[in-house]
């Protein structure tokens, strides 16, 4: 009984907002003292269909810079994560915690200064600039995930493969990669989520020139068009979920093919 009350509380607390968004999506009229809309319509869907090119373009742009950030964070953290996991050297702990700080400190603190650097380098208002700033805030998540992955898989099999005559690249592709792939997926999911839902940094560095879904959505949130904003918000919720589910399924397929057959 006690558990049931707790679960009801959890459902109410965590599920009420998405549920409310779903109801608002279909509402045409929802005057004040009513607990449910007085009339329903597909107005919000019609609007979104009429704006589909602009919405798809902003979604595509957001998706592209988020995926690029995932790839870039992976590229820059792969070697350092191996070092942090497998080597002991003086100052390792301090260095590791220092390198995590971009995710801990408010992004505003360095992003406004970095805006000046980017301006001088001529990469403000550009796709590359957006990817660089998003990579800087989100690489700590990838670093943490990969370091944990490398610690868990250990160095022994890599050393063994090297002793058997495989080169570093071959060792990485056939020995290390299969083991740390789940860590890459975990770190990559967080990096993607952080980049995809970011509004401020994309606005600051992209300057409104680089289209983004968060930038497209923002003006609606302050408007009285609650049904359209609700539907757009639900899309924001659904896309990462689809992505995570497909990664999960892919991982399972990959491992069942590789090891179960």
């Amino acid at each position: 009984m006690k558990h049931k009350i707790f679960i009801t509380f959890m459902i109410f607390f965590f599920l009420l907002p998405p549920a409310l968004l779903s109801i608002y999506t279909f509402s045409q009229n929802w005057p004040y003292p009513q607990l449910l809309p007085t009339s329903l319509s597909l107005h919000s869907f019609n609007y979104i269909i009429s704006q589909k090119y602009e919405i798809l373009a902003s979604l595509f742009s957001s998706f592209l810079y988020s995926i690029s950030s995932v790839i870039l964070t992976l590229a820059i953290t792969l070697l350092p994560a191996r070092i942090f996991a497998w080597r002991k050297f003086r100052g390792r702990i301090i260095l590791e915690s220092l390198l995590i700080t971009p995710a801990l400190l408010p992004a505003m603190l360095f992003a406004m200064g970095a805006h000046y650097t980017f301006l001088k380098a001529g990469i403000t208002d550009s796709f590359a600039g957006v990817v660089l700033i998003l990579t800087t805030v989100s690489y700590p998540y990838m670093l943490r995930a990969l370091t944990a992955g490398f610690i868990a898989c250990g160095e022994d099999s890599a050393v063994c493969s090297r002793n058997l005559g495989a080169g570093p690249l071959r060792t990485f592709i056939s020995v290390e990669l299969p083991v740390i792939f789940p860590s890459i997926a975990a770190g990559g999911s967080i990096v993607f989520l952080v980049s995809f839902s970011e509004y401020f940094l994309v606005f600051l560095i992209g300057g409104g020139i680089v289209p983004s879904y968060s930038g497209y959505l923002f003006p609606f949130l302050n408007s009285s068009e609650h049904s359209i904003s609700s539907l757009l918000t639900l899309i924001f919720l659904v896309i990462p979920m689809i992505l995570f589910f497909s990664i999960d399924i892919l991982l399972r397929l990959y491992y069942s093919r590789r090891y179960m057959v």
Binding site: L105, A111, A114, T136
Partner: protein, 290 residues
């Protein structure tokens, strides 16, 4: 295999370059620009003029106080909620534990949309206002308490709690699930009640992680921008909103004021990290004694 220092440095280089060129230099430039250096082609008579000007303004202190109050409240409530929810999930029978997945929902919602959800729920014409009217607690829109645009930033706190409690749950639950169950069994055998177990065994076990989570949330909240921006409360307004205004809306020559406020946030963040590291050091020593 022993790597030389140079080789280690070489391997770390792909990370050290963006860390220094974008992150550290970004902070450095903020500090410099706050003193009127590197502000495009503008020159200023002295270094601390922006700080002097800010510290003589009433609104600055109001904004700073509001920022600290909002950050403190939302991190504190999120952490307490996080302890409570993780404890209850931990006590659920295995078959019901899957409900814990519900706590992940706010993690996927972007900050700006959480602000929007607070508007839908808590505005005077919103869902909770209608609900309280239905329950007979209020009889008109005006009798529902003003939560949006309140001077105390209650709307920002509520949005923060919804967004941050799940983070606290994940971190705290991870530590809680590593707790040795035999401790609980022994306590039960010795006749401890569940309240005593919670206070004497579980809470002390959670102190370090709770401190970490609190400090992470607190620092994040001091500089959080997106939620207050969507909620649009104006007076006195969070510091981050003021910074944004000075950065984008005002003349380029006003840039040092935005940067000086950033430096104030930076100082507070560093101060709290330092305090926290002292606190943790104290806890560790006590742990070692036991």
């Amino acid at each position: 295999m022993n790597y030389s220092r140079i080789k280690i440095l070489l391997y770390l280089l792909p990370l050290l370059i963006p860390f220094c060129v974008i992150f550290l230099s970004g902070i450095f430039l903020a500090v410099m620009q706050s003193m009127g250096i590197f502000v495009f082609s503008y020159t200023y008579p002295e270094y601390f003029f922006a700080y002097r000007e800010l510290f003589s303004q009433g609104w600055f202190y109001h904004s700073l106080a509001l920022t600290l109050f909002v950050s403190l409240s939302s991190s504190l409530i999120s952490v307490i909620g996080g302890i409570y929810i993780s404890y209850r999930i931990w006590k659920l029978p295995e078959s019901l534990k899957k409900w814990g997945i519900l706590t992940r929902i706010p993690l996927i919602l972007p900050h700006i949309t959480v602000g929007f959800i607070v508007i839908l729920l808590f505005s005077r014409s919103g869902f909770f206002s209608s609900l309280s009217n239905f329950l007979g607690l209020t009889d008109s829109m005006e009798s529902f308490p003003l939560i949006l645009y309140s001077r105390l930033g209650i709307d920002i706190i509520l949005a923060g709690i919804y967004k941050e409690t799940p983070f606290a749950v994940i971190m705290i639950y991870a530590v809680l699930s590593r707790l040795d169950k035999r401790l609980i069994e022994t306590a039960l055998m010795l006749g401890a009640g569940s309240r005593q177990i919670f206070i004497r065994i579980i809470l002390p076990h959670l102190v370090p992680v709770t401190g970490t989570v609190f400090i992470i949330l607190f620092i994040y909240n001091i500089g959080s921008f997106e939620i207050p921006y969507v909620l649009g409360s104006s007076n006195p307004g969070m510091l981050s909103i003021r910074i944004f205004d000075y950065f984008f809306q005002k003349d380029l020559s006003m840039r040092p004021f935005a940067m000086a406020m950033l430096v104030v946030i930076l100082i507070f963040s560093t101060l709290f990290i330092y305090l926290y590291s002292r606190l943790i050091a104290g806890v560790d020593i006590r742990d070692r004694k036991i």
